[in-house]
Symmetry: C2
Subunit: 260 residues, 2 copies
Amino acid sequence: MGDRKLRILLSNDDGINAPGLAALHHEICKIADVTVVAPDSEKSAVGHAITLSDPLRVWNFQKDGRFFGYAVNGTPADCVKIACWALLKEKPDLIISGINLGSNSGINAIYSGTVSAATEGTILRVPSFAISLTTYVDPDFSYAAQFARRLALQVRERGLPEGTLLNVNVPPVPATKIAGVRVTRQGKSTYLEHFDKRTDPANRIYYWLAGKKVEVEEDLNVDDYAIKQDMVSITPLRFDLTDYEFLAELSSWDMLSPSS
Amino acid sequence: MGDRKLRILLSNDDGINAPGLAALHHEICKIADVTVVAPDSEKSAVGHAITLSDPLRVWNFQKDGRFFGYAVNGTPADCVKIACWALLKEKPDLIISGINLGSNSGINAIYSGTVSAATEGTILRVPSFAISLTTYVDPDFSYAAQFARRLALQVRERGLPEGTLLNVNVPPVPATKIAGVRVTRQGKSTYLEHFDKRTDPANRIYYWLAGKKVEVEEDLNVDDYAIKQDMVSITPLRFDLTDYEFLAELSSWDMLSPSS
């Protein structure tokens, strides 16, 4: 493609007005023609949802008096789909989702709308990564945004395997305190959850999910633990969910004869 | 556990009043104490969404004048979470999600609310499977329900590896026409998608996702193709999304020094 400028699509799950997306936009504009297509409101923990039963609407979204991007009344995966199939003239060279406010490590990768946008990009065969800043308190997105810019150039140069995306988590420390960059696997930490059972003003019962992460594996090869050690964690994820290891054993089960 | 009766939790994504869930309930009641916890309305293509920002409410749902189960204003994953953490006295022995109206094969496993309920069960360390009937037209759930009953007993006897669930797709043919049962991998068929661009009565533009599956791999080891050949497809899925193959190569990227 010679010297043609990179074309990068940005999305997120915190909504088009989120500061993390603005910080990402600021850095990525230095290296690429950028298009933003993002949910019109916060869509965290939507998993890999798409909207089939309702129409999608698209608005031009202004920021600081200028056109910033397209706001969609849908999920992060919807945004990537509608960008690639309807809003952009051709598929982008790269898709970046983020910068999320809060971590998307361990089992959270499954629930994450941020990861879902990158997954959808990968399904559409566009190299994609998700990036999150692992704090909710006083977020400073500047190092994460710079990291995204450098990673974008690396992904552009080296490519990603078909079906594989990257899930990046950046610890909330200044650049000088970053202890390194680590390629990790998805952690197996689970949540000790409970539902608060409450009563509303009309005396009806409702439930609210609460929980805290337990069992952090103490292994620098695990996303959660690397982040805890102030390292940037990069986990390669794939959307082929097949458990190839168990596949052969399963074939030996009795019931695999239809008359059993 | 000796002769204690099996305790099985049923959920789905088509909603608590769906005929596929009723058919499953009818068969599973023959072998287990059954609890139904399902969305109060249809939640297809919700992916692995959970509800964090809103309260969940639970209703007793009646069917044919009797208590049938708990209806929840949430997603399939919410239903499994609230069942295990709040509604049931102890975790069930097994979770079955379905019977879904329509296939959940290939890339659809990623979007599927049906699969998501089984994934959530697996995260909570309860052996789980999802089951779908691969048609939208004149569904007859009876064979699929019987198959679910037999599979439940096999899973109970043999267990599943930690982190692994089963995704079952049953072709819409009479029992006598079932060509066999096949352990498969998740197919890589993609969708040729487009967005219909339409104008509403108030002259505003909206978009509607449409698409058809392309590139079915002609391989009996692939879910989509096995189903096409009238075989029951069982795909073992895992929720660890890590791409272990690519992990080592990724570690060699230049940028894995924080100062690069």
